[in-house]
Symmetry: C2
Subunit: 359 residues, 2 copies
């Protein structure tokens, strides 16, 4: 596998976004979000998706020069119209608005409509950390998930990210799809030609399946919990809360009307809103208690959980954010591994736009 | 099984809370919260718990005349000190503060410390509905749950409730423990002398167990997802987010320091905060978009999900809140079924306090 320095990938991504008409600042910001996924080990949401975003532009589903604007607001809330822009740009700008509001009134909440795929949720939530705030971000997504007892795919993998600052310890960062397994995990199994564990997928008829290609046959991902006995109705609750906050509250397309990320799929008929929706927000720590006190308690929390006695065969109990931080430490040092398939895709994309992709 | 009218149970509960020194209003409110659990079919959090609250009072862990007060606030946030009061009273009062703040600035968030068990989470979240707001409530709880890879119990079942208004459709109400199965489900299996499904519980050594009494041997409930392959790290994220918002943000006891509900267990040593913590809040719908538009879209959302094609053998796809509403419809009409064991417990409690419990 080829390992490529992050700044080189960033430079390539920046140039490609410039080619489709993004301005300097936004090409940079979008690249930051993508590369942060690669650095943190969330390979499915990094550079591997770059050509997907460009295809959305080619299908006229993505506006490279969006007029991202607040269409309604109160002291602690706003709705932002993303003007069909890159979610990679729209979401961080919305998060900046949330942070400004939290500086003034203690918390800030922004629902976003008319956007596109926003990359990794964790990036946006983590923007709050530098301001000593707790950050929250979520998004709806292409319908691939069947609610409990449903044969139909009505929800996306609808991730939630929460970032919480600590003192001497690194921050707590949870970032997870509300399904048993994210779609990226199926892609890994497809490449390896391996079966999926039971409880990840169902067929188009709603029967259990272990075929990682089942979604191509109309099958569905299962909500976190897998089945009713193991709490899939709770995963369904989580995915639907994300859908409603992201898309019903903002005026975007919700449920099965969420536009697909892949450009070859048709847009759902009779849209119920505009584009994809996100929801981001922050609570300012010292709007509750002195931030030094809070952060010292977070250190105690983190240290207690990390030193928990482990089950047999396990080395340690992780704190949310630990694996991604370790990936980032390694990949900043040693480069980002890029699969051959992604490498070919990027090379091709570069050739098309006259931006050489060099190893 | 005996079925008893809700108002009769309410009256009994009210009189018992009066006996320990609660004032009229608070005895009423606490009884409202308890009976609402029984009405909604969440039997583990209703009258069956009344004697548990009274035992906390007898152990001097519950203050029947609390001075519930805001100790810090901003326009959209507050921290409330529950003064060792009943969570059944403290949480609704905190929710009222959140609603007032949302009326003024669009959203309101209250972290609560120094409280006790707050009953069903759904009650507090649903208070937002009458104000055309989205309500959120959560609480930390006695440590019974082992994080992924941990042998130690470091989290409670830490429930989350979200209530969202609709137009002609009844509201969306999600209310769930962040574990695979709530503790109440184990109690049902214990009574029936049946095994638990795999994936609910582990032994004190961290091995799988199907013994519903395993927690008495030092075993633990598992986070939603059951094991690493099925996303238990996501359930661990959810439970820990609830713990941090409820207890670290407010200054209550977090993680394994959360005080036990049962009065016979000792309080954890070296407390890291005061009492139990909750977190409640609201987003005002029209702080985002016109509430009529939002509610009409919620109707479309609910109708679409409810009419989804079902998997084999299932009659229908439920919308969160459907089962509880159906329970309530039936139980308001036909009374609340009370188990013999609970009946004996209540009769005994009544005798002790000179409040006859009549069928």
């Amino acid at each position: 596998m080829n390992k490529i320095p992050a700044n080189q990938l960033h430079d390539f991504s920046y140039k490609i976004f410039k080619c489709i008409g993004c301005n300097d600042e936004e090409a940079n910001l979008a690249s930051d979000v993508l590369i942060s996924a690669d650095l943190r080990g969330v390979d499915s949401h990094g550079l591997a998706r770059l050509s997907g975003y460009i295809r959305l532009y080619e299908k006229d589903r993505l506006n490279p020069k969006p007029n991202i604007r607040i269409i309604h607001e109160t002291p602690s809330t706003a709705v932002v119209d993303g003007d069909k822009g890159l979610g990679l740009v729209v979401a961080p700008k919305a998060m900046e608005i949330a942070i400004e509001k939290a500086e003034k009134v203690g918390s800030g909440w922004v629902a976003i409509k008319n956007s596109n795929h926003f990359g990794i949720a964790g990036y946006h939530a983590m923007m709050a950390l530098a301001h000593d705030m707790i950050g929250l971000s979520m998004t709806n997504a292409s319908p691939l998930v069947a609610p409990t007892f449903s044969r139909e795919r009505l929800l996306g993998t609808n991730p939630i990210a929460v970032a919480i600052p600590a003192d001497k310890q690194p921050p707590y960062v949870a970032d997870f799809a509300t399904t048993t397994a994210a779609n990226g995990k199926l892609e890994i199994l497809q490449r390896k030609n391996e079966d999926a564990p039971a409880g990840w997928i169902q067929t188009s008829e709603g029967n259990d399946s272990r075929n990682p290609n089942e979604l191509k046959n109309g099958g569905a991902l299962l909500p976190l919990g897998s089945d009713r006995d193991h709490g899939s109705h709770k995963g369904y609750c989580l995915g639907s809360i994300v859908d409603i906050l992201s898309a019903v509250l903002s005026g975007a397309n919700f449920g099965p009307w969420a536009p697909p990320f892949v450009s070859f799929l048709p847009m759902p008929e009779d849209p119920v809103g505009e584009g994809l929706g996100h929801f981001v927000g922050t609570w300012r720590i010292d709007a509750f208690r002195p931030k030094e006190e809070f952060k010292r308690n977070m250190d105690i929390w983190i240290e207690r959980f990390r030193m928990a006695k482990t089950t047999k065969g396990q080395q340690r109990v992780l704190v949310p954010g630990d694996p991604e931080r370790e990936f980032e430490f390694d990949r900043r040092e040693n480069g980002i591994p890029i699969l051959d398939k992604v490498l070919r895709d990027l090379t091709e994309l570069g050739e098309k736009h006259g931006v050489p992709f060099q190893l």
